[in-house]
Symmetry: C2
Subunit: 386 residues, 2 copies
C-alpha cells in the first residue's frame, strides 16, 4: 500500500447561499484546492454527498461535478454515508492512491441544503435514521440526540451547562474562521435561554442547515515530496465502522460503538495513541455529540467529557483542543462537505496556517466524522511530513 499525502485544500464561505447553485459551490471549493496544490491535472475524483436527490433533485453527482469542473472523462464517483459522506470520500481517495489506481486525486464534499423543497431539510436528513423503526414513528435527529443526551446525563451526571459550554467554545473558535456560517460569540446563558427543540436540546445546541463545499488534493507521498511547495500532510491511519442505526437496538445510548471501533482501527493503523493527538475535529452536530465522541475516541474516560469542556480542557491552549475551526456548530454543517472540511482544518493546523485559531506545535491531528446518530463513523489520523 502506497503512502498517501494531502497537498492542497480548498474551502469557501459557507452559509445560506441562495445566489449559488449546487454545482457552483462544489466548483468554487475544488478550484481553490487545485490552486492550493498547484497541480496541473487530476486523475480521478471522489465526492461525498448525502442526498443530492432529496436536497436538489440531482443524483449522478460525480459526473455532473467532473464536467462543471472542466474534467469530463475522468473517473468521478459519489459516495454516501449520511453525514459521514465527506469522511468516506477521503477514505476512498486514499484507497485510489494507495492502490496505485491513480496518482493525483481530488476529494470533495458538497451539500446544498437551504433551497430544498418537498418535506424540507429535516425530513431529508431523517433518511439517515432507520425509516422503518424510527422515522415512520415520527422522530428526527434532534429527538434522537436528545435521548442520547438524557441517557448521558442520567448515567454520568453530565449537566445541561456542560452541553452549553460546547456551543460557547465552538462559537468562540468560529469567530476566527472567515468561512464559518455563524461568526458570532454566544454565552452559556444564550444557550440555556434559547428556544427548546427536543428537551434537553435547545436551538443553540444544534448545528445549522448549511450550503457548502470543501475539497482537497491527495497524491502518493513520493509525488507529493516532488511537486508540493507546501508541507504535505500524511494520512497515517483510517478507521471506518458501522453500527445499528436504530437506537433501540443498542445496549447503551451513551457510547457510539462505531466511533469506538473506528478509533481503535485508526490508532492501530497509524501506530499513534490518543495522548499523541495534538488537535482534533469531532462531529458536533449536537453539543452532546462532541462530549460523547471526545470520550469514545479516547481523549477522556467515559463520563468525563462534559466536565472536560467546562474545565477548558478542549479549548485552544487546553489539554486537547477540539474543533478549533468552530465545529459544525459555528462553521455550519453541509452534511456531505463536513468530513472533508474537518480534515482541511487539521491540514491547516499542521501546516501552522490557522492564524488566530492556531494550536501551538500541532504535529498530529485526528478527525471524527459520523453518520446519523452513529450508524457510521470514519476517523482519520494525520501528520505533517517534516
Amino acid at each position: 500500500m502506497r503512502e498517501v499525502a494531502i497537498i492542497g485544500v480548498g474551502l469557501m464561505k459557507w452559509g445560506e447561499l441562495w445566489k449559488k447553485s449546487f454545482r457552483d459551490i462544489f466548483v468554487e471549493a475544488a478550484l481553490n484546492s487545485i490552486d492550493d496544490a498547484g497541480v496541473e491535472r487530476i486523475d480521478s475524483m471522489y465526492i461525498g454527498c448525502m442526498s443530492g436527490g432529496l436536497f436538489t433533485g440531482q443524483e449522478h453527482i460525480g459526473s455532473i461535478m467532473a464536467d462543471y469542473l472542466g474534467q469530463k472523462h475522468i473517473p468521478a464517483a459519489r459516495v454516501e454515508s449520511a453525514c459521514a459522506s465527506g469522511g468516506l470520500a477521503v477514505k476512498m481517495g486514499f484507497l485510489e492512491v494507495a492502490s496505485g489506481m491513480s496518482d493525483i486525486v481530488l476529494v470533495g464534499g458538497v451539500e446544498k441544503m437551504t433551497d430544498v423543497d418537498g418535506g424540507g431539510a429535516t425530513a431529508a436528513l431523517a433518511t439517515a435514521a432507520d425509516q422503518e423503526y424510527e422515522v415512520y414513528n415520527g422522530i428526527t435527529f434532534p429527538g434522537l440526540y436528545a435521548m442520547i443526551a438524557r441517557a448521558h446525563m442520567d448515567k454520568y451526571g453530565t449537566k445541561r451547562e456542560h452541553l452549553a459550554d460546547v456551543a460557547v467554545k465552538n462559537h468562540s473558535n468560529g469567530l476566527h474562521n472567515p468561512n464559518a456560517q455563524f461568526q458570532m460569540k454566544i454565552s452559556r446563558e444564550d444557550v440555556l435561554n434559547s428556544v427548546m427543540v427536543a428537551s434537553p436540546l435547545r436551538i443553540l445546541d444544534c448545528s445549522p442547515i448549511t450550503d457548502g463545499a470543501a475539497a482537497m488534493i491527495l497524491c502518493d507521498l513520493e509525488t507529493a515530496k516532488r511537486i508540493s511547495k507546501k508541507m504535505p500532510v500524511r494520512i497515517l491511519g483510517i478507521g471506518h465502522a458501522s453500527d445499528t442505526i436504530a437506537l433501540h437496538n443498542r445496549k447503551d445510548l451513551t457510547t457510539l460503538n462505531s466511533t469506538v471501533k473506528a478509533a481503535q482501527d485508526a490508532y492501530k493503523m497509524s501506530g499513534v495513541k490518543p495522548s499523541d493527538i495534538d488537535v482534533a475535529e469531532v462531529h458536533d452536530c449536537f453539543t452532546i455529540a462532541e462530549i460523547v465522541a471526545s470520550e469514545d475516541v479516547g481523549f477522556f474516560e467515559k463520563g468525563e467529557g462534559g466536565c472536560a469542556v467546562s474545565d477548558g480542557r478542549t479549548q485552544i491552549g487546553g489539554q486537547i483542543p477540539i474543533n478549533p475551526s468552530g465545529g459544525l456548530k459555528s462553521k455550519g454543517h453541509p452534511v456531505g462537505a463536513t468530513g472533508v472540511a474537518q480534515v482541511i482544518e487539521i491540514v491547516e493546523q499542521l501546516r501552522g496556517n490557522a492564524k488566530e485559531r492556531q494550536v501551538e506545535n500541532a504535529k498530529t491531528g485526528l478527525t471524527q466524522n459520523m453518520g446519523g446518530s452513529g450508524g457510521s463513523s470514519i476517523i482519520h489520523i494525520l501528520k505533517g511530513e517534516e
Copy 2:
C-alpha cells in the same frame, strides 16, 4: 496492486416485490453470495444504490444493510453513479482488496423502485440527467434516448427493426433466466406495435422499473485460490470514465464517449482486445443503448451495431453474444443492482454454470454499465482462473 478475484455470487428473483422491503431484498442476495463463496466472515462492504432517498426514503444505506446482514461494525459504504452505481461498487470493492485494506469484501447493489411515492420512479430516475438544463425543461430518459436513436438512424441508416431485434433477442435469452422479471417471448411485430413512449422508442424498447438486488464476494487471488471451492474469476481490467451529462453539450449523439474511454482503459489495464471477448453484458436500458454500446466497446464499427443484431451476430452462438442474461430489457433494471448483476452473469458464464443460456467455451467476458445517458460508464473485463 494485488490481484482480485470473485469467489461467490448471489442473486434473487427480480420484479415487483411488494411483499419484500428494501433491506429484505439486499439481504437475500447478500446471503446467497456468502453461501456461494462459502466464506465465514466479510471484512467490509460496498453497496451500489442510485437513490435510496427518492425511491424509499432511506439513505445511510451502507450502515443499514450491514446491520440487517448481521455485520454491524464492519466498514460499509454506499456508492452512486446513477444507473452505473453497481459497476462503481464492483470497482470500489476491487480497490479495497487491491490496496490491501481488506481481504474479503462483499459488493452489492440494490434498488427498490416500485413502491416509490412523490413524483414516481420516472422523476427519481430523471435525477441522473442534468437538472438545470434537461429535467427542468421537461425531458426524462425515454426522450433523451429517443434523440440518440434518431441521430443514429439519421447518421448510419439504423432501422426501426434493428432496435426491435435487440428486444427480441434479449427476451429470448431471458426466457432461460429464472431470476428475470419478464420471462416472455416477444416478436419483432410485438415491439413495432407496442405503445409509443418517445418516438421512435416504444414500450418494448424500454427496460422496466424493477425491485432487485445482487451481491458478490471479492478477495485477493491468493486467498481465493486457498479457500474457493469454485473457479475464481479474476477482475483483469477496469475502465471508469465520465462525460457531460447534458446531451446538448456533446458533439455527436451517436457515440457514448464515456464508454469509449472506459473501454480503452479497461483493455489497456487487462491486456485484452475486443476480439478476445467471448461474452458481454452491456447496458440496454433502451434498445438503442445496446446498439451504441456494442460499437463503442469495439465489437463493431460505428454504424454496424444495428445490422449486427439483426444478422444474429450478438445472439448466443453468434460472433459475440451480448446479454445472454436477458439484459436489462428482460431481466429488469433495479438501477443500483444492474452493474453487479452484469458481472454475476459473466461469472456464471465463465464458470460454465449458465445452463440453457451458456455461451460455449467462454473464457473472457466484459461488462459495460452506464449512468444516465452516458454521463458515466464503468467497464470490467473478467477471466476465469484456470
